[in-house]
Symmetry: C2
Subunit: 553 residues, 2 copies
């Protein structure tokens, strides 16, 4: 095989593996190899950890995990002929002293055998990344040679080797060692601005080294994470010549020569911000249901507010309106307009509604607890909390009974300040909007309603209320959502300290209150359900906070 | 200062800092410095991260954290005269390119100034450890010199440098570079066998290098972790010459010359296994309450079973019997003997009892849900689950109302196989026995009752039951606890794969069932409350598992 052979063809397989489903993933990989072969591909590329799914976490520590990996690599290698397959997979090596080291690799298969392990050099270990827990770094990255063709093969983080982040400049090293082009296999989590960041880095490399860059990302939902695909090929002129689909599997074959031509092979239409948000959430939730092999009967408590309305809409996109069951759970504090509004919502969405008043139960509870200081007249937090908890109980009952799952409906602002009742409105198997601040949610609704009214205007225009006591409004206990969200973004997403937030001109009293609410609600978040990560700092695995501490940042 | 000056004195300060409480910790450190000075100490040593507490997690990423650390180090340095203070603290260094690196250090203070940063070489990043997320490794450990005295100063993991774990053999390097003795400052989490492991490693080093070893550990509870103190001094002859207290602050001063003598300076009496378990749990819980500055009113749902009984007993040890409120929540499925037994328990413990029957509420719920397929006659999981959820709701109400917290009472066996109702018996701020398997719990009870019957025999001898339907017994749906716990220990604690467990002679059907239960209940554990880590693999932060996956280990 010769670099001068410009008719040499490369296939990129943007697949959606299921974590730990070795049979499913192997079958898929072999299908893509065969499809690539039908397209006369010489080099067939799969994303990072395509064989196992990303990230196996502690599953990788079980001996049978290694056994499965090694067995399946051989099984795949067996179907590989004279083409070269580059497959993302872990590789297990024993030291002389018997200790095992695991590398995150591009495994090269050729003529029925493993011919090389290209090891990841830079291991991300921040936010949702925990690779140093499992993998060993490779401190000597080298290009992979096929005849006189030198491929600057690198794994995901290896391309994020900019000044100040890592000592080993992988792309530069590969360039110096004679790579003809760069090929990055990734499992790169989606966030709203991520594709822009990726393109920025890739274009910087191409500009600096004057060599083409092929970027292949995985696609699919995995717990709180969305892998968005959107693989790209940038030619030596630093133009994008191929884009792959966002949020779905995709496949492309092109000639090596195309990397040095200006012909655009494939263009994807641009996705607007809020469509992207919707696509990310729906892919994540669809895969959550499919990969866990659970029911698609979705139970959502509808309050007449915007959070549950948007959640119900998003659910219909994934499971269809016939599988979404709205549940109204009115109490004596529920305004009649709430019922009117949610009836309109149900009509607009075409979902079914169950109406279960918690009034009788609440009275029974009042009577039962009266001897235990229940205050019928003076409603405090304890009396407020029993209402969402009764609702949570009924929602979980319906889920159990109808073989469905409950969706929790808290938004990022609420979750941040703990404006929710644990075991009440927080119950559920999944939360779809937990990484969207309330003020952003209004913009999302505006987008959802772009062609026709789906979320009723009455819901949008109503002042937010938990309806746990008479005349209650969120603004009784929280600052205005725009102000709240501005400060939360600085404190949570940008990790600014209080003094830095104050420097931006916010009022001390408000900032103090918000930071204190965030800090003291860590215990609630520790028991909350997984959401869908849309930002660079969502609540969940990427934000590791102690519960017990006395630091005020 | 000269090594030949054998009258030189070393003070070890085994303190209990509060995470992120810079004022509290600084005051404490200065007090211990003054106490050491009154004892004519020349070298005053504090444990790993004594200034901040272990581990700050993402709090360390806030700029104000660095500011506080640097401010407080200067404040402490200001009180230091001609003595040398070795203080565990993070140190922040800027690279030429402006990027920040954080090292986990022994900071040496002398004559009002910072004179050296001894950087940790080996960063643990497994189980509950996440140091590579925050810290940079030091690949060139060197002893710290005071005149001709060469101190082999190392931080925690640096001593666990045995074959097969790390490339850098820190102790050996320090020996080769002329250390006169080793001084390890640690924040080492307790587990039942940990002290034995530590002694094993220390004695191996002393035997190999023929030099004394001083091991100083921190003490205190931090979220799920217990730091047990138990610092030790081993002389050049490889004998323990000083032991410090377990589970409390302690202080010792000794002469450098003592390291080369066989005089035993201090002995601690041995703690039995179950006393150690109790001490670890009570320290953790005491610090949870104190450091979070929360109430000491404890609410516990009492079922008449062993789990809630032991939890109530442990709570009395921490907050006193006058602050523990037992709550009986009988339903129509509650046997009369349950009430008799728990009344006896309450009497034995001297705690108060509230009796709140959920019968009426349950009937109200039956009636309400009848139109939604509630089956009064045929009790399935949905109908069973509403009972613990009603109980959870009432317990949380009482906690809110009485300004208390609920203790969750699941044991490790139950948590492992998901034999619990989410938002029901799992509610609470803390679980004290979640790292104790059921069969071990019986042994603990035997110890608790060693002098007199505290947990009534009737509770101990009763067959475990959830009492959610007539005649229900745990053994209807679970294997015998001894068998269950044996298999769980192999699968969870030892991380053996199924084929390895089968090789030990267990029945395929049983093993399959148990593994499948563990796997499919990851989603429950993800929403469960923190427990107290007693083993090397407890559920919680040290066991990172995906929810979505299809791997069967």
């Amino acid at each position: 095989m010769s670099f001068s052979n410009s008719s040499l063809k490369i296939a990129l397989c943007q697949i959606n593996p299921t974590l730990g489903d070795f049979n499913f993933n192997t079958t898929k990989i072999i299908e893509y190899i065969e499809m690539s072969r039908q397209n006369q591909a010489d080099i067939i590329v799969f994303p990072e950890l395509a064989l196992t799914g990303y990230l196996p976490f502690d599953l990788i520590e079980y001996p049978s995990f290694r056994i499965q990996v090694e067995r399946k690599i051989l099984e795949i290698a067996a179907v590989v002929n004279q083409e070269y397959v580059i497959l993302g997979a872990p590789a297990f090596f024993k030291d002389e002293d018997g200790s095992e080291k695991i590398f995150n690799c591009g495994v090269v298969l050729h003529n029925g055998k493993v011919v090389e392990y290209i090891k990841k050099a830079l291991l991300p270990n921040y936010d949702v990344f925990h690779e140093k827990r499992y993998f060993t770094e490779n401190d000597d990255p080298v290009p992979y040679l096929i005849g006189d063709l030198s491929i600057g093969l690198q794994v995901c983080e290896d391309m994020w080797d900019l000044p100040s982040s890592y000592d080993c400049k992988v792309t530069q090293v590969l360039d110096e060692k004679g790579a003809n082009f760069f090929l990055n296999i990734s499992a790169s989590p989606f966030s709203m601005e991520k594709q822009e960041d990726r393109l920025g880095v890739i274009k910087k490399h191409v500009k600096k080294y004057g060599k083409p860059f092929i970027y292949l990302n995985v696609v699919g939902g995995q717990d709180e994470i969305v892998f968005d695909g959107r693989s790209i090929v940038v030619n030596a002129e630093n133009d994008i010549i191929a884009e792959m689909k966002a949020f779905e599997e995709d496949f492309i074959v092109f000639k090596l020569a195309d990397l040095y031509s200006s012909t655009v092979l494939r263009e994807e239409k641009e996705i607007t911000r809020y469509q992207m948000m919707i696509d990310a959430i729906t892919l994540n939730f669809k895969d959550y249901i499919r990969k866990n092999n659970i029911t698609n009967k979705i139970i959502i408590g509808l309050s007449g507010g915007i959070d549950s309305a948007v959640t119900a809409y998003l659910a219909t996109l994934v499971v269809g309106k016939e599988n979404v069951i709205g549940v109204a759970l009115p109490s004596k504090f529920t305004a009649s307009r709430s019922m009117t509004d949610l009836n309109q919502l149900v009509l607009n969405l075409g979902i079914s509604l169950r109406n279960i008043s918690i009034g009788g139960l609440y009275i029974e509870l009042e009577n039962l607890l009266e001897e235990h200081e229940f205050e019928k007249e003076n409603l405090g937090i304890p009396e407020e909390n029993v209402q969402p908890r009764l609702r949570g109980l009924i929602l979980m009952y319906l889920a159990n009974k109808l073989n469905g799952i409950v969706l929790s409906t808290g938004n990022k602002s609420e979750i941040a300040v703990g404006y929710s009742t644990l075991y009440g409105d927080t119950v559920g198997a999944k939360n779809l909007i937990g990484d969207i601040y309330k003020s952003e949610l209004y913009k999302l609704v505006h987008y959802i309603n772009r062609d026709r009214e789906i979320i009723p205007d009455a819901i949008i225009n109503r002042e937010p209320t938990a309806e746990l006591k008479p005349e209650q409004k969120d603004s009784d206990s929280l600052p205005d959502y725009t102000l709240l969200d501005d400060i939360l973004t600085l404190f949570i997403d940008e990790q600014l300290s209080k003094h830095q937030i104050l420097e931006k001109g916010f009022e001390l009293k408000v900032v103090d209150k918000i930071i204190s609410l965030v800090l003291k609600n860590e215990f609630k978040r520790a028991q909350m359900v997984q959401t869908v990560r849309l930002s660079e700092k969502s609540f969940g695995g990427g934000r590791m906070m102690p519960i017990t501490h006395r630091f005020n940042p």
